[in-house]
Symmetry: C2
Subunit: 336 residues, 2 copies
């Protein structure tokens, strides 16, 4: 279920033309530059990640193990004119991993070439069975989960910042990825929004297995209990992750829920209470560990004032991880 | 997405040996005897629904349109020795509908035979794309949803009893099926627990589309917000169904959540409050319309006392639909 991709990566950009389509590849290059030997661009590609342009053989020589198709596409299809290049990649000795909806394994020519050269094709949006049903049973190890007032408020960024900060301090910690970009960064994980609904909490349990009592799993959240499109995903993840601590992520000033113009976000108190109440079902001792604000659209002085006021009001750390890092929350956790 | 199966049905029992494996077929025969022309049993079958044993040609002569594979099976597989009979069924002119995990459409011989004879194969556990994402937008028509303190407490039974009672009174109402047996009974619907997690609320919206202001959709609930295995399914369904009224289903005396020995059920007040709070996200005016108790394991006098005490305490109707029917709740709804 949680297939481990081999690093380092060569990032495949195909012939995409706009930066938004390269969001996943850029996330990987930003967070794990050391895991990326370069980028591969086809004729007509209008985007660059600022990495070395390498062909497959050069990349292989520099150690690349997996070609990552980290691009978005209308409908998630694999354009027919990409297939020849993908076949060449496996022939040169690269595994391929893709986050597109259309499966690499469903391209007969590519699947055949991969088998012939002993390479693996990872379709990370497709869960591979059999999937587990959640049990709600408590397991050892410490867990922290990011939750949010909305989608796309910085949960992945916050989770990565927390996990990296913990590891920098020598605290045993793993980032547990639940979305596409996170999975490429971690090299493993599962897209919880793609599993059949019956198994959401079960895969969340499996994603964060029993561990040493002082080990931290830092689990990437998804959606929001207050987003009517995706709350089911969030609830299953909250129940399965069994967090000891929640960090509530928020973008101050955002006026509408993502994708739902006119529908306002919940207040912080309502949102935190709702997520804590839900989390208590599988971990009665769950607590809030602070707030993470995405303040990129705020005046910096105003953002800093808001951050301090939030800390004072709640008696909990409040960070913008891009500006402050996640140290304040890790400090707080080390004092519990 | 919501494929309409043609009735009447011939119920296929294969060579199953125990009654529990025939649960779905029995539910169809109990609720819609007029939709079932008979049963088809293979040599060695140890179960009978008390219907006429018919071969495919006889069933076709009596008007049967669809052969329903309404049996459960270890792992949800279609035994190899069934395939010959299924091929004969399509050759005789029957569509086939199955609730098993393994797809009829994945049996090459059967798929070929169905194409050749122009018959349809319905795999009702497999959602067919493209699936919609929920919007949370309010739509006209009235909606009532069953929720529960646990799985398997009588939500389907209660929903069917409510819808049938409304129609008997001439109230425009549709039963909206979200699980296997219900889908066979309705002839359409969607297994919400089988859709990818991102689409739970979206399919629930689609399942119960905009309708006349005085039309009722009576929506079959699934799982429970307080069941750690399946709460994500429940939450998406609650958000997508946008119920105006909830009926809380419960089995008094049950000691553990289904499948989770030792984990107790929530109290009625906690459970009702939790479901109402969740439902308010997409319908702030949602209210409770009463309780439905499954009292089969209680002494009848004790069950009746409990029912009356519950009504007195809450000021809302409380039924055991098997004993009392759903009239008391429909009475109450007509007075709102």
């Amino acid at each position: 279920m949680f297939r481990l991709m081999e690093k380092p990566y060569l990032l495949f950009l195909g012939d995409i033309r706009d930066d938004l389509s390269a969001k996943t590849a850029r996330g990987i290059a930003d967070w794990r530059p050391g895991d990326c030997v370069g980028q591969y661009r086809m004729a007509g590609c209008g985007v660059s990640l600022g990495l070395a342009d390498l062909d497959f053989a050069e990349a292989r020589e520099r150690g690349a193990r997996t070609l990552v198709v980290g691009v978005a596409n209308a409908g998630g299809r694999i354009p027919g004119h990409w297939e020849g290049d993908l076949v060449r990649a496996v022939e040169v000795g690269l595994d391929i991993a893709s986050g597109l909806h259309e499966r690499l394994n469903d391209l007969p020519g590519l699947a055949r070439a991969a088998r012939a050269s002993g390479r693996r094709l990872f379709d990370i949006r497709r869960p591979e069975g059999p999937l587990p049903v959640g049990t709600g049973e408590k397991r050892p190890g410490k867990r922290i989960l990011t939750v949010g007032t909305d989608c796309s408020v910085g949960k992945k960024y916050t989770t990565l910042a927390l996990a990296d900060e913990m590891r920098r301090r020598g605290i045993p910690a793993d980032f547990r990825a639940t979305g596409q970009t996170g999975i490429f960064i971690a090299g493993e994980g599962i897209c919880v929004d793609a599993v059949p609904a019956d198994f959401i909490s079960g895969v969340a349990e499996r994603l964060s297995p029993a561990a040493d009592p002082d080990h931290w799993d830092v689990v990437e959240g998804q959606g929001s209990l207050f987003h009517p499109s995706f709350a089911g995903v969030t609830l299953g993840l909250v129940h399965g992750a069994q967090p000891d601590f929640l960090v509530l992520c928020h973008e101050p000033g955002r006026e509408s829920l993502r994708g739902l113009p006119g529908r306002s976000l919940p207040g912080l108190a309502e949102c935190l209470d709702g997520h804590l109440a839900a989390a208590r079902l599988t971990n009665p001792d769950v607590r809030a560990a602070g707030f993470s604000f995405n303040t990129r659209n705020l005046d910096p002085a105003k953002a800093e004032r808001l951050r301090r006021e939030t800390e004072a009001f709640w008696g909990l750390p409040c960070i913008d991880p891009v500006i402050n890092g996640a140290g304040a929350i890790v400090d707080w956790l080390e004092n519990q």
